[in-house]
């Protein structure tokens, strides 16, 4: 009972993998499935480097068991293909070393999906979930705002 085959829906594909019940989703993504975009940072839920999207919500994959993700739709940074927020991160120079970037992008991507009219307060609240050691958060905020503006323009 300690480990078994589990099936996960990841980036639109069904993937079967042998995992222990105690394996975190972060571990399984990286070590068993070769999806190394989600980064290990604190492994304690504090830094957000491991953030992925589960059923439309940003989740810290270090705070989740892989078995908990069965029957859920998981999206990692590898599953985002030129999402508008990715372009804006590049345009606004919203990274330096880039270690935190996949986690930030996944969080910002969910934010834009859930709150196309996000206020400054909502943006601040969401950005508190990720820690960056290199940049200020200004460029990241600008990347979000530029994406939101584009989304709004596209809609109107």
């Amino acid at each position: 009972m300690g480990s078994h085959e589990i099936t996960l829906q990841i980036n639109g594909e069904e993937r079967s993998v042998h995992a222990r019940n105690t394996d975190t989703l972060l571990y399984v993504l990286r070590e068993k499935l070769g999806l190394t975009g989600a980064k290990p940072g604190c492994l304690n839920g504090d830094c957000g480097a491991c953030t992925i999207d589960v059923d439309g919500q940003p989740m810290k994959s270090c705070l989740m068991l892989a078995v908990e993700a069965m029957n859920k739709k998981v999206t990692t940074i590898e599953g985002l293909q030129n999402a508008p927020i990715q372009t804006q991160f590049i345009e606004k120079f919203a990274f330096q070393c880039g270690y935190c970037t996949p986690g930030f992008i996944m969080n910002c991507h969910s934010l834009i999906q859930q709150h196309p009219n996000a206020t400054d307060t909502v943006i601040k609240d969401w950005l508190e979930s990720n820690i960056c050691r290199c940049t200020g958060y200004k460029e990241i905020e600008e990347a979000i705002k530029a994406t939101l503006r584009n989304v709004q323009q596209y809609r109107s």
Binding site: M1, G2, S3, R20, N21, T22, D23, T24, Y27, L43, N44, G45, D46, G48, T51, Q57, P58, M59, K60, C62, L63, M64, L65, V67, E68, N107, D125, W126, E128, S129, N130
Partner: protein
């Protein structure tokens, strides 16, 4: 990486969960109920929680749902903190939740997991204690409903194998004026130095604290002092501070002396907010 293995179960009913717990317990597996799992995973990694079996209660309908029945709100214990904020029906609880962890972590941390946490903050308990909420507990003999204040002493007092299913709060309590003030040593997220929650009912102030002592609590003696209108505000607060029921914490967040200083100012702010600032 968690160094030990555990069995993982996801029962669909309360009865199944209780039965499973006792069977696993008889097998010497030291089972644990698993809600958001954030604490079991993080403390498990440090071997500070060790178990051979977890029972994930997130598939039990009574635990996952929110319902409004007449003037009563029923909160399932496995609702995530984010979901409760999204529902938006309990502003006092939402305000407390907004200060716990961060937005992403709150998508995983649950109400029941926070109330039953090993870590001593358990901040969601504060508004629930002050609004005289009730808890529904599953036991071998069925469900029992109790006032939270009767079964919460430092931690929710559960007998072996029992688990928290729901929290029930009356609309009339939710409508009362409240304040929740979280003071941290630094930064905008994370654990508190002290969280103070306050509610005014029938012209009387009720208060509860997390981070002041090694457990969250509401204390009637402190409230009695704070409500003694014969005294000046400073005297009321001084008296209340004398009644703190346990040792004041000393940790990386702050010394006991600093906590007292912060608490005194917070209580002054609370009195000002509820009674109007003194000129």
């Amino acid at each position: 990486m968690i160094s030990f293995d555990f069995d993982y179960y996801q029962p669909a009913t309360i009865e199944e969960a209780i039965q499973l717990f006792h069977t696993l317990d008889e097998q010497g597996k030291n089972p644990l109920y698993f809600s958001g799992g954030t604490e079991i995973i993080t403390l498990g990694r440090l071997n500070r929680i060790v178990t051979d079996a977890v029972i994930d209660i997130k598939a039990i309908p009574e635990c996952t749902a929110y319902r409004k029945k007449g003037t009563t709100h029923i909160w399932g214990a496995t609702l995530s903190l984010s979901r409760i904020r999204e529902i938006g029906a309990f502003p006092f609880l939402s305000k407390t939740i907004a200060e716990i962890a961060d937005n992403t972590a709150r998508n995983k941390i649950t109400l029941g997991g926070n109330i039953c946490a090993n870590i001593f903050y358990r901040e969601t308990v504060l508004p629930l204690l002050l609004t005289d909420s009730q808890v529904v507990i599953a036991s071998r003999t069925g469900l029992k409903q109790r006032p939270l204040r009767d079964v919460f002493d430092q931690i929710l007092q559960l007998e072996k194998g029992e688990f928290l299913v729901q929290i029930i709060t009356e609309q009339s309590e939710i409508d009362l004026p409240f304040l929740c003030i979280k003071k941290r040593r630094q930064w905008d997220v994370g654990y508190p130095l002290i969280t103070t929650a306050a509610l005014k009912k029938n012209d009387r102030l009720k208060v509860a604290f997390s981070g002041l002592c090694a457990f969250p609590f509401r204390n009637q003696q402190m409230e009695k002092s704070l409500n003694d209108l014969q005294l000046s505000r400073e005297e009321r607060i001084e008296q209340a501070l004398q009644q703190i029921p346990a040792t004041i914490l000393e940790d990386v967040h702050g010394s006991a002396e600093y906590r007292m200083f912060v608490l005194k100012n917070t209580l002054l702010d609370i009195l000002d907010a509820f009674e109007g600032a003194e000129s």
